[in-house]
Symmetry: C2
Subunit: 143 residues, 2 copies
């Protein structure tokens, strides 16, 4: 799985005439080894631990490339931080976000997805993406 994402990214890069670099490989390894829903800042810290010479701008630029290549998805939970999560091909999920501890639980619901489609159809709206997030208190934080 990690092998295949590496491959996917490298194919995307060479297909666009973009280069493979030491820095990008470090960022990629840190991203793939990381928990999901990491903020750019958090990832930058992990990257620095491996190679302190890598700059902030490079991490930002590389994460955008991950999203373009399809191995990552950009997410926003409403704190001013952009986050990235791993994307499994053909999969989709939504999120439960704890406003107390910040933990994130993923879920899938086929019925909701279908209803969304129906609603869009009623309005003649063509859905490209959607975002469903439930914010509240997770089981642990409720004791």
């Amino acid at each position: 799985m990690k092998r295949s994402k590496k491959k996917q990214f490298h194919e995307f890069m060479s297909g666009k005439g973009l280069k493979s670099t030491r820095q990008r490989d470090v960022v990629l390894d840190c991203f793939l080894a990381s928990d999901r829903h990491m903020s750019t800042e958090e990832l930058y810290m992990k990257v620095r631990a491996k190679n302190p010479t890598i700059g902030y701008a490079t991490v930002y630029r590389t994460l955008k490339l991950f999203a373009e290549s399809g191995i990552a998805r950009e997410i926003h939970f409403g704190d001013g931080q952009t986050r990235y999560e791993h994307v499994a091909e053909g999969e989709h999920h939504d999120h439960l976000v704890c406003t107390r501890c910040g933990s994130v639980q993923e879920f899938e619901n086929e019925t909701i997805e279908r209803l969304q489609q129906e609603i869009a159809d009623q309005f003649g709206f063509q859905v490209e993406t959607h975002k469903l997030e439930l914010y509240g208190i997770c089981a642990k934080c409720r004791q």
Copy 2:
């Protein structure tokens, strides 16, 4: 309806020992007279048209008070702009957002709301708020 929101806001303010000012009244009038889903910037422009001496910070501060008082809700559509929309007491709706023309269509779906609740219950998660947005191309933009 507009009378009652004005009232609601003024009651909230006096209840907190906060003052009624000329500036706040102008911002409130502009907000109530406006289309929904206005960005702070857009509202600021309307405010300036009525009273060019009112500052940016005052508009920001006042909109936060609207949200606190319950007459407005803060929304984020992923462009870097915070928006505010009118809140009707006891009502809730979600959004279809056109990524081409920026238009916003509101909808309500009781079944989806119920399913969200069920999912949260399964995880022992206590929902406080949620966000459901469908992004894509609206009927008009599809010709």
